[in-house]
Symmetry: C2
Subunit: 591 residues, 2 copies
């Protein structure tokens, strides 16, 4: 591969940049203005959620957008601080340093760097598949629980009381204890903002549509509700002098762009951050790639999952060197970006410029911004993450998946985000292994009028008293090797007339060394009892492998291309008579 | 279930005891004498291997045999101290107490108790399947590495030098350092015993056969070689006064039966023993049940895997309350028991009586027994555990299984038994998940002259340019859900003429919630592109579950009983023409 094709592979900007026109430019600039307005309250609020000064949120909304514009393959993904990653950041660094200290900020920056480097490494090594080990129910349960914990924690600032704790349970306990201390002015602003934001989410768009605005304009305007709440409550606090009444305000925000920094190079610190950084990386990537794939599918664009790891990693490294904290692709802002008509990642780069202008010139306007309003924007944003419908659907479809989901939710609520995620992944893997360790094994017979064989319990089929045909509905591998051995022994012991056992293997996708030894043991034992063992419908890759062992030489019977041929080789008369019979009209179900 | 049937279920002795005759009694008594003679050197040697006084080995060979006679379902399994469990005992308790101290002995006894209680609990909860998560290659690799480590460690006593260390590597390093200090008399006895034992293993039986003895008698006599070595070297040390020349001897062994004791009830100690006890329990159970199943199969007897957990647990509790250490069913002694003709577990009970008589009256005879001889019996016994052939076979058959085996061996040799076992289990599970996360997906077509569909790359088949038939050779579940989504997207993007996609599902044994969401996404995207999605050959249990979701309502195509019916519903003419064509003579392989 020459240098140019390497550059093209890792820098998608070379592709879309070459086709950039002045029409695309105008379009992307308009989008950038809309997204900037939406991003300001989010950036400030998520910085507070992570326990950091508000300007860190703005810093984390510039360099990452530029880095993503260079490396990203999605045309519309918008990266920056998001709720769940901010909560995970707080959970990871709270045990390491006191909130507000330079060490706390340093740890947040280091976390972004470690996470960014991990993501880049995973991208270069094409390890994107690791994210697949987070099953949908575990991710959904984790996001639901995180949403609940964030919402509970933000009720504190909304009411003007303290809500502290590292888990949902601790936060709720702290809320209950402090509820008597609420500040009435703060509560009025906080609950007022909450009510307005909930209303603007549900009813503003229909209202604007009725006022004659187009679908797209109405939808986009409805998304800037948080910015409106910010402006109104800031004016209220300033006009009525509410800061003196105990309403907490943002206060002075240092003006100016972030300086290029490097996080403290502290091996002990970095080592402690490894596990949280891995979890934030994977959760962030899963969130980001899902959004990117969904939006790309709507416009038939392509997203490259491995390159996305590199782009997300570069965004986090960008956040780290500009004094920010961990970022990822956010659903809400990407949807706004998409719906406002973003055509290239340049829209993101222009948004970064917009945020930079705010950081340079408008931070004094944030002085009287009440923290209660920021907390209210978070509460509204995260409650949409709580997905009760998914819990119901998962319960209906699979109790095992529901168990993994429920465990993730409960452990996250009671023990915190890291424990919840690890238990969820561990349990979903264990439940899968457990299910495959006791596979479905069907006795099959021939359907009259066909050469097909189906489960005797579900279909009217013909069997031969000397032939036991078993279909094992699972790959044969170590967790089920002995189980299958036991079931075959039992089935043979239960039918003394049997002279032949045929294992029908259309569902056997692999046979590992443990299962091979079990098959050898089965063959050996059946042989001692004067019974021959046959296989049928062995898949190509499985057969290739069996040929490398001694099993096929020792096998007392043969390997047949189809189950029909296997039965016909033993009792040709019955097999043919059944095939040529009239097909039974009623079947009891499928397969 | 009434009390009698509960008793019958948990006390197999009620079954075989009812049919006990005087002929069986005579037979079992003869067997007990042979096994007792064989068991004495083993019991003494494995106690030393575990770092315990020799009489502890004798104690661990009485109560466990009695307990197993009550609860065990195998007619011929002999429980007691074995090499690997003794090594694991030493590894578990060496960090907790100084060898030779009462705390060290107390910890060994506590380990037997914790392990015994765990096994009983696993048996009552029917958790025997947990042992299946140890794949054959991992067990084989672990036993090989343990055998190497034990052999290296015993070379110390054989040569009369110190060989200390917790891993194979440390032991070898210690041997190399001390090799100059060897005691010539000890070396003479040790290497002499080694040579005799190796010879008696390989050549004694043929010699006895040539001398006119029957196969059975010759085989049994050949197994008492270690006892002969013990007697001869003890007489040599006594006669030549070698103890004064620096040859280490067993010395005074307290006479008398063990007293009923309880291990120290120390929660901190027990907690530290949980993981090692679990590993010893599972490895011990795997070893024991394999031996029991193999021997039972030879005589068509039944062994109940869950009851065996209870029996092995009771044996360990028995060991603990009589001052012994962890025990399990041993291969060598069980084979001797079997070949000598043991008919019931009563033979084991009589062996316990034999050991008790030795403990009460014959311990003074052990005074001059050289430790070098005991070490030599261990070296010979464990080297048969090193299975190079299994490594070769595993390499030929499956590189993934070989990787798990090699990792188990290397980590055990370099980091010790617990790390080796945990890494082996973790790696074999990960490699399985990894393999299933990138399943084999075949494009299939119809074999002329049949209604069968096979891989286009392996068979001469007929396809339709508007129909893409894909067979996914794996259950659809979270680790591969997105991979399959990507592959289908790619396949469709590569063939613009496609109007129908059919997923042939004979190998799909389950569809979990994550995969269901992927299928919904695939269906949705194909629909947007004007392509219908069909399924065929969906298994009964999978179909039952799909019916509980909304997927079947949203599916743009249909679910067909067979792949032929699916294709025939779209292009009946081509399907029938192909079916009625002459069958192609040459195929490129299987399935």
């Amino acid at each position: 591969m020459n240098i140019l094709s390497i550059a093209r592979r890792y820098l998608p900007i070379l592709d879309w940049g070459a086709q950039y026109t002045s029409r695309t430019l105008t379009n992307d600039l308009i989008v950038a203005v809309i997204v900037t307005v939406m991003l300001i309250p989010q950036s400030l609020a998520y910085a507070l959620l992570a326990g950091l000064p508000v300007q860190v949120g703005l810093f984390a909304s510039m360099a990452p957008l530029l880095a993503y514009a260079l490396f990203g393959t999605s045309r519309t993904l918008a990266v920056g601080p998001v709720a769940v990653a901010s909560l995970m950041t707080a959970a990871a660094i709270a045990p390491l340093a006191a909130q507000g200290s330079p060490e706390y900020l340093g740890a947040a920056v280091a976390l972004a760097l470690v996470s960014g480097l991990m993501l880049v490494a995973m991208g270069l090594l094409r390890l994107g598949f690791l994210a697949n080990f987070l099953s949908h129910p575990v991710v959904s349960g984790f996001i639901t629980a995180s949403g609940l914990q964030i919402a509970a924690g933000q009720l504190g600032p909304v009411l003007g009381i303290r809500a502290e704790g590292e888990t949902f349970v601790e936060v709720v306990r702290s809320l209950v204890k402090e509820i008597g201390e609420l500040n009435p002015w703060t509560t009025a602003i906080g609950l007022g903002s909450l009510a307005f934001l909930f209303w603007s989410r549900g009813s503003l768009k229909p209202l604007l549509l009725r006022a004659g605005l187009s679908e797209r304009v109405a939808g986009t305007l409805a998304k800037v509700g948080p910015a409106v709440a910010l402006v109104v409550t800031t004016l209220l606090v300033f006009g009525l002098g509410l800061a003196e009444q105990g309403v907490k305000i943002v206060g002075e925000v240092p003006k100016g762009l972030p300086r290029l920094t490097l996080p403290p190079f502290d091996v002990t610190l970095w080592t402690k951050l490894l596990v949280p950084a891995l979890l934030i990386s994977i959760i962030g990537y899963v969130e980001s790639i899902s959004v990117a794939l969904t939006l790309a599918a709507k416009r038939r664009q392509r997203v490259d999952p491995d390159q996305e790891l590199i782009a997300l990693g570069a965004s986090n490294v960008g956040a780290a060197v500009s004094g920010g904290f961990p970022v990822t692709g956010g659903l809400a802002r990407s949807v706004v970006n998409f719906e406002a008509g973003a055509e290239t990642p340049a829209a993101g780069a222009f948004t970064a410029v917009g945020i930079a202008l705010v950081t340079m010139f408008l931070t004094p306007l944030l002085f009287y911004l009440p923290k209660a309003t920021l907390a209210a924007t978070i509460v509204v944003a995260v409650l949409s993450l709580v997905d009760i419908g998914a819990m119901k659907r998962t319960w209906d479809y699979s109790r095992a998946d529901f168990a993994a989901m429920a465990a993730t939710i409960l452990v996250t609520l009671f023990e915190g985000v890291e424990a919840g995620l690890l238990v969820g992944v561990g349990l979903s893997i264990f439940l899968h292994l457990w299910a495959t360790s006791r596979p479905h094994i069907a006795v099959v017979g021939q359907i009259p009028g066909t050469t097909s064989f189906r489960n005797v319990e579900r279909h009217a089929v013909v069997t031969d008293s000397e032939i036991l045909s078993l279909r094992v509905d699972e790959s044969l591998y170590f967790p089920n090797a002995r189980y299958i051995e036991d079931r075959i022994n039992e089935a043979v012991a239960a039918s003394p007339t049997i002279r032949h056992v045929i294992l029908e293997c259309p569902a056997v996708n692999a046979i590992d060394t443990s299962a091979l030894e079990s098959l050898e043991a089965i063959n050996h034992r059946l042989k001692d009892g004067g019974i021959t063992l046959h296989l049928s419908e062995v898949k190509g890759p499985v057969m290739d492998r069996l040929k490398r062992s001694h099993f096929l030489h020792e096998l007392t019977g043969k390997v047949h291309l189809s189950q029909y041929e296997a039965v016909a080789s033993i009792n040709p008369e019955l097999a043919r008579k059944t095939r040529d019979a009239e097909r039974a009209p009623a079947t009891k179900g499928n397969a």
